[in-house]
Amino acid sequence: MLRLEKRPNPSRFWLYATPVVAVVLTMFFGGLLFALMGTNPFAVIRTIFWDPLFGEFAFYLRGQLLVKAGPLILIAIGLSLGFRAGIWNIGAEGQYIMGAICGAAVGLAVYPTENRLIFPLMILAGAFGGWAWAMIPAILKTRFNTNEILVSLMLVYVAQTILAKASTGFLKNPEGMGFPGSRNFSGYPAAANPELIAGSGLHWGGVAALIVAVAAWVLLSRHIIGFQIRLSGQAPRAARFHGVNPSRLVVLCMGLSGALAGLAGLFEVTGPAGQISIDFNVGYGFTAIIVAFLGRLNPIGIVLAGVLMALTYVGGEMASTNLRLPAAAIQVFQGMLLFFLLGVDVLTNYRIRMAKGG
């Protein structure tokens, strides 16, 4: 019989090796799934993981990679701060939507004024929108001890109905001939978020993601708040004796993750999406949860994980057009990855031993 024995300290080797093992396992079992569905698994894996980087259309797809990775990294870094402290904000999708609506509303309110201050103002409004939406579960948690998981998730559904109202009602394009959706920001230079270098796919969202990653790394490894976050997650009792104020930490972590999700939404809606529409959000807020764990809740890891997850999006789209792989298969693939990651993680904290006798 095999038996698990707790390690005195987490293994450093497995800490870094588990994401790699999880990716390999996912490729293997994902391949099996694709084979069961009657597609050639090797072709699919190649299309997802190789072609966007080095294939025939890589010059275009590499740019798409950054477009998708930017919001994922921004949201995941915010989430990882809370996850480390045991604060579970899983409503990032809602904060992403509200950030986009608030930011876009500011831009559309002053249309068609041209001023260099408009875009920075929209960025502030976007971050504010996400922050405010995340403050609802945070304050309910600190004041009334309400479960933040359920409240933040319920607010995703509320945000989606507000989004529907925005795109068919109060933010609808008055010159849109009755079609739902706001004005397109690509026709409004002061408020648009264009590619910074043509063909690179890099827009302000990608730049923000890199800045935030570095800032989060500094916060976690060099700042007292980062220490408090790590302490609260690993030893809540010790944190209380150390004088950490749990309520302040909840408000801080939820607020930061909400603001970052809001930023991601604003950059998406002014850039790649172009306009507020009923379905401009594509679930980045949920996929970012996978990214956060895949990156081991570490800012640098999250950047790598964000790029990898973007690869599955871009490659998955390729596979669905070229190989007729259903789009849902990629979602299954991403879910599988999180499972394997959480499962393989047992090796970080436990040793596998042969049990002696009964």
Partner: protein, 310 residues
């Protein structure tokens, strides 16, 4: 006897039908949590139950087989959660989220060729003469067998938890796994059973959505019902009969807002359709604060993994 275009008898009858999925899922999760396991994957298990039940019912032509298939689908997915959390000792919150993301994807993959198909009909259980009695007929006798089953499950769960040895063991495992282990109970095996039971009930509830409530298959058909079921467990302070009240309350709000939409109310549709979620938040706030203090009644070992050192 109408109020603003809404007939109260029909309203009560239809809220009983509307609340079956969340009631079943909440009862399953209640048992799982009583054993000390927090499975946040209810939404994923429900939607797997919805698609498995739908496929089984369409191919066999029998709604009963469909419900069995739905329960099996939900239970099968919950076993993945059980393996990762109980054997590989992963964090239950994260694994539950993974279960939901995975379930949503897998159900949409399985259901691709089932859009626009009608499932076999689940009819009323009792003869028409009983159903035609005014007021009492539609409310008490007018339902399909799943509505009665869901109430029976409430009674059964209540009785097992309160009055049987099995219930006592389950609660012991959920309150203090160390003590239960020291008494010789197999903590992880009992939890595995509780997780599978929760999965089966969530799957059953999901199947009710795709076979009776909607009845057809569309992606994301559960639309947050699993999360509302999780909230109902908190609302019910882990007590089965209160879960029934909670589920009927939410079912009532859902039906009422749909009726208001149909009756052409002046409140915009968007605000009506967000009302069940807002009420859920409101109820959570009331239950978690002040004298309600639902959290005090939570199983003491909820969400903690058990690793036997000796």
């Amino acid at each position: 006897m109408d109020f603003g275009g809404i007939n109260p008898v029909i309203l009560i009858a239809s809220l009983m039908v509307a609340s079956v999925p969340i009631l079943l899922a909440a009862l399953g999760e209640l048992v799982t949590e009583k054993a000390g396991v927090l499975n946040l994957g209810v939404e994923g298990m429900m939607i797997m139950g919805a698609i498995c039940g739908f496929i089984t019912a369409v191919h066999s032509g029998s709604p009963v087989a469909g419900f069995v298939g739905g329960a099996l689908g939900g239970a099968a997915l919950s076993l993945v959660f059980a393996f990762v959390t109980q054997v590989l000792l992963a964090n239950q919150v994260a694994t539950g989220l993974a279960l939901t993301l995975f379930g949503l994807g897998l159900s949409s993959l399985m259901g691709q060729n089932y859009n626009g198909i009608k499932p076999p009909l689940t009819g009323a259980l009792l003869p028409a003469t009983l159903r035609e009695i005014p007021v009492v007929g539609p409310i008490v006798f007018g339902h399909d067998w799943m509505v009665y089953l869901s109430i029976l499950v409430v009674a059964a769960v209540w009785w097992v938890l309160k009055a049987t040895r099995l219930g006592l063991i389950l609660r012991a495992v959920g309150e203090s796994h160390e003590a239960a282990h020291a008494l010789g109970y197999r903590v992880r095996l009992i939890r595995l059973g509780a997780i599978a039971f929760g999965g089966a009930l969530a799957g059953l509830g999901g199947a009710y959505i795709s076979l009776v409530r909607v009845p057809q298959w569309v992606d994301g058909i559960t639309a947050g019902a699993g999360w509302i079921a999780l909230a109902i467990v908190v609302f019910a302070s882990w007590k089965p009969w209160r879960a029934l009240i909670g589920a009927y309350l939410f079912g009532g709000i859902t039906v009422l807002q749909l009726n208001l939409q149909a009756a052409g109310s002046r409140i915009p549709v968007e605000y009506l359709s967000m009302s069940p979620y807002l009420v859920t938040i409101l109820v959570l706030v009331i239950m978690s604060s002040g004298r309600g203090r639902a959290a005090l009644n939570a199983p003491a070992a909820l969400g903690q993994n058990f690793h036997a050192t000796r």
